[in-house]
């Protein structure tokens, strides 16, 4: 029953150390002789590009993988973690990028069922007393009796961290904990975590891509590149440039493409469009939206305000009850023939779920746009050779890292799936490009490269509609900024007159 008892007096933080940790998969070395030390009570950041070995390292620490060589010390003693359950028993916990809470249950229920020793019959009165005492002792709290699906993303992430503390974990791995949070939420959550570290109740190893968060909250940093530890030290001694240099080594991120002056006709126009939202209860209402050739229109907004539905309307996945969608003056219904005639391309968010067949190969997935195109028309017989050649060319051009063209696309990392889909959608002439959250969860070399591809498409006369939850991305790329809130476009301004507080107010629906 020991784990069942709420932690009354804070346990001391647990420190860990990896010594010469090496992990090989077949002939590939994912982690090469990495030694890092997280002192008890410190907030340690782990930086690295996609594929640098960050996930492998933390999976070795948590016992998901057994390292090929090297060892783990917990509080200076031999850790010898056999599996994740063992890691938990030794006080190590992990908070994932995506939530692991049961949405329909309350916070209290989520906390109780996460224990290893839930009794067959739960005495809720007793549990609630215990949970309230536990909450009272914490520096931050969440409402216990509210179902989790009603909590905001920031609250959920706080609950994830509280759950770890409730389970008696005193060393936490945070895997990109703020990727689903707004900047304010992120600051609040990390601020609380930082306080727990300062109080000596917790040690943290945080995987992050965001330098700002590393500087603001971490005290030490370790940088991995291609499976090796390439640098690190006290955060106070390092500038963003230093960290970026360590992460990238000799590689230089693509320089932002310059914005050229373009002129063009209106190519995409929505007028009086009405549709149901996902819940079927609210209405999506786009009164007027036009985009001209050579222009990027950015739609800012908090996730869940109708961006996904707008994307579905434009891809023909969601029926429209009123209004018109016109491309180059002609009505547009998003059929394959229309999309091809008008050269309309799409990059939906989370491309693996929305734009790929995960179990089909990389080369087949890259062929989705072109498999039935022949010179001057459509073809009946597949041309596997041509499909392969096209995929090979695009994989090289867009630097997609894949073991082979015949690997299932689901085996690729997020950034590489994104590059593969982008290569498919940007190949050839593109007149209209409709994108949603193109850089979600990617590291900054990938982000810079993808943004520069979008900008250069614009410079060549493509009309771009960019929906993004990342306001910085919109401000960097867009010529015109619009704000979407509760299914409507509520604000519009040019990039020059864009003012973050004003846009923020409109995003929150307060203006």
């Amino acid at each position: 029953m020991h784990a069942a008892q709420p932690i009354q007096s804070p346990l001391p933080a647990v420190g860990i150390e990896t010594v010469g940790m090496t992990m090989r998969f077949g002939s590939f070395t994912a982690l090469d002789d990495v030694s890092i030390k997280v002192r008890p009570g410190s907030f340690h950041a782990l930086l690295g590009e996609n594929g640098a070995g960050k996930s492998t390292l933390v999976k070795c620490i948590m016992g998901f993988y057994h390292a090929s060589a090297g060892s783990l010390l917990i509080d200076g003693f031999d850790g010898n973690v056999t599996d994740p359950r063992d890691a938990h028993a030794k006080g190590l916990g992990m908070v994932y990028q995506h939530f692991t809470l049961v949405p329909a249950l309350t916070a209290a229920e989520n906390l109780v069922i996460s224990r290893a020793d839930v009794p067959a019959v739960v005495n809720w009165e007793h549990e609630m007393t215990g949970l309230q005492a536990f909450m009272a002792a914490m520096p931050f709290r969440v409402p216990l009796s509210e179902p989790v699906h009603r909590l905001a993303a920031g609250e959920k992430q706080k609950l994830e961290i509280l759950k770890q503390l409730y389970l008696g974990r005193r060393f936490l791995i945070l895997d990109e904990p703020t990727s689903v949070l707004t900047p304010d939420e992120a600051d609040e959550v990390l601020g609380h975590v930082r306080k727990l570290c300062e109080a000596g109740e917790l040690s943290v190893l945080m995987i992050s891509h965001k330098f700002r968060e590393v500087t603001a909250f971490a005290d030490e940093v370790t940088v991995l590149r291609r499976g090796r530890r390439v640098g690190g030290g006290m955060v106070a001694d390092l500038s963003h440039q230093d960290m970026a240099a360590m992460m990238m080594g000799d590689a230089k991120p693509a320089a932002p493409a310059a914005r050229e002056v373009t002129t063009g006709e209106t190519v995409l126009a929505l007028e009086g469009v009405r549709a149901r939202d996902r819940s079927g209860l609210k209405e999506i209402a786009i009164d007027g939206l036009t985009i001209r050739a050579g222009e990027i229109v950015g739609i800012a907004g908090i996730s869940g305000n109708g961006q996904m539905e707008l994307m579905e309307i434009l891809t023909g996945q969601r029926p429209v009850s009123a209004g018109t969608i016109a491309v180059k003056g002609a009505p547009y219904g998003a059929t394959r023939a229309e999309a091809r005639r008008h050269k309309v391309r799409y990059l939906p968010e989370e491309p693996l779920q929305n734009a790929c067949a995960p179990r089909m190969t990389v080369s087949e997935n890259i062929g989705f746009r072109s498999f039935d195109v022949d010179v001057g028309g459509t073809r009946f017989w597949l041309a596997p050779g041509e499909m392969k050649r096209r995929a090979a060319r695009l994989v090289t051009d867009y630097k997609v890292k894949t073991a082979s063209l015949d690997s299932p696309i689901a085996a690729l990392s997020g950034g590489n799936v994104q590059r593969a889909v982008l290569s498919r959608e940007l190949d050839g002439e593109v007149d209209i490009l409709i994108i949603s959250n193109p850089c979600f969860g990617l590291d900054f070399t990938a982000v810079a490269e993808i943004r520069s591809r979008i900008m250069s498409a614009r410079n060549q006369g493509t009309a771009v509609l960019l929906m993004s939850e990342d306001l910085d991305e919109i401000l960097e790329l867009a010529d015109r900024v619009m704000v979407m809130s509760e299914g409507r476009l509520v604000y519009e301004c040019t990039a020059a007159e864009a003012d973050i507080p004003t846009i923020g107010h409109h995003m929150g629906g307060h203006a």
Binding site: R24, F25, G26, R379, T402, A403, G414
Partner: protein
């Protein structure tokens, strides 16, 4: 950060070649292992009944594949299995699980038996293709309706096809016992026997009807359609991720209705050949379970139309040996159904192992181990 993405291609050409073979073999290995596991569990079942499994499997071999006579028996049972397996495998490429092929077989048979009465005086060269075509059409409408219900009304295709099969069987019983009944059929209500000129004969030199050849050709054509044409590729995209197919502007509704209808047409053909080559008239023997065994065939073949051919032969052999096994070993006639049940459960269970038993990984592991 998926680490798997970074596992490099094997270094040497020999290793690459072996890995290629292994990658293909994995698809074969898993169903074969599952089949053997099903046989093993069934052997335990026989032991519990006090029967000798070795005798059983020896008898199955003898009655299914041992002699020219048993081969004939097996092959003529394979034809309806091939067709009904296609009725499962073709929609499966779109991610649909259609299990009601029995209904389309039955209705295809009734259509052939009933229509043949009207076409008695027609020349065979016109009447036979027309009968086959109409039987296929009825099957196509029946299973195509399942696809249409799913696409426009959101009805689960598995449940709908199964329930429609019961309706089809009831419809057949009504027709052959009522409006279409031949007054001369006393003990077993049937439609009037087909005119001799409309009967489908045997393959030259074989004791097996033409349905087998047509079925094999259909399997090959389906493979070509799915693997070599752009329509098939579009269907595979929609089967792999329907949202991706929609974003690509593919006609998903047309594909779903078209592929379910195509599957149904094959089942309808099975009914046609059962009536015109085997029974000679439409009656309750049409609902003899080929539609359900076809599900097992398609799943064992992993919905690959070419793999359906050997798998259908194997299971047809089991069906063919059923009579002998009953007589010699004094086993009930449900024995073969029990065996099929064990094999099916073990096939479904093996699906969860896909990608876990990996020859490729094992080959590349040898280096470091």
């Amino acid at each position: 950060m998926a680490v798997g993405a970074d596992i490099p291609a094997p270094a040497t050409p020999l290793r690459a070649w072996l890995t290629g073979i292994a990658g293909r073999a994995e698809g074969l290995l898993l169903p074969v292992l599952a089949l053997l596991a099903g046989f093993a569990v069934f052997a335990v079942f026989l032991l519990l009944l006090g029967k000798n499994p070795a005798t059983f499997y020896a008898l199955v071999y003898k009655a299914g594949f041992g002699t020219a006579f048993s081969w004939n028996n097996t092959l003529s049972r394979a034809a309806p299995l091939l067709f009904s397996a296609l009725c499962v495998a073709v929609p499966a490429r779109l991610g649909l699980v259609v299990i009601g092929g029995e209904g389309a077989i039955v209705l295809g048979g009734v259509m052939a038996g009933g229509l043949a009465m009207l076409l008695a005086g027609w020349p065979a060269i016109l009447a036979m293709p027309l009968l086959a075509l109409m039987a296929a059409l009825v099957g196509a409408i029946w299973i195509g309706a399942v696809g249409a219900l799913r696409q426009w009304r959101g009805v689960n295709e598995t449940i709908a096809s199964l329930l429609l099969a019961y309706i089809a069987i009831a419809l057949m019983n009504h027709l052959v016992e009522g409006p279409l009944r031949d007054p001369a059929s006393l003990n077993k209500p049937s439609t009037a026997p087909l005119a001799e000129s409309l009967r489908v004969g045997d393959l030259p030199g074989w004791n097996v009807h033409w349905g087998l050849a047509v079925a094999v050709v259909c399997c090959i054509l389906c493979w070509v359609l799915i693997e070599r044409t752009t329509t098939g590729f579009g269907a595979r995209i929609a089967g792999g991720n329907v949202r991706a197919a929609q974003v690509q502007g593919l006609p998903v509704t047309r594909l779903v209705v078209g592929f379910t209808a195509l599957g149904g047409a094959f089942a309808g053909l099975a009914g046609y050949f059962e009536v015109s080559a085997v029974h000679g008239s439409a009656n309750a023997s049409l609902a003899s379970g080929y539609g359900y065994t076809g599900i097992l065939v398609a799943f064992l073949a992993r919905h690959n139309p070419l793999a359906i051919i050997p798998v259908a032969l194997l299971l047809a052999g089991f069906e063919a040996s059923s009579g002998l096994v009953q007589r010699r070993m004094d086993l009930p006639d449900a024995t073969m159904t029990v065996l099929q049940g064990f094999v099916f459960v073990s096939i479904l269970a093996s699906e969860t192992l896909t990608g876990r038993i990996s020859l490729t990984a094992w080959l590349n592991r040898k280096d470091t181990a």
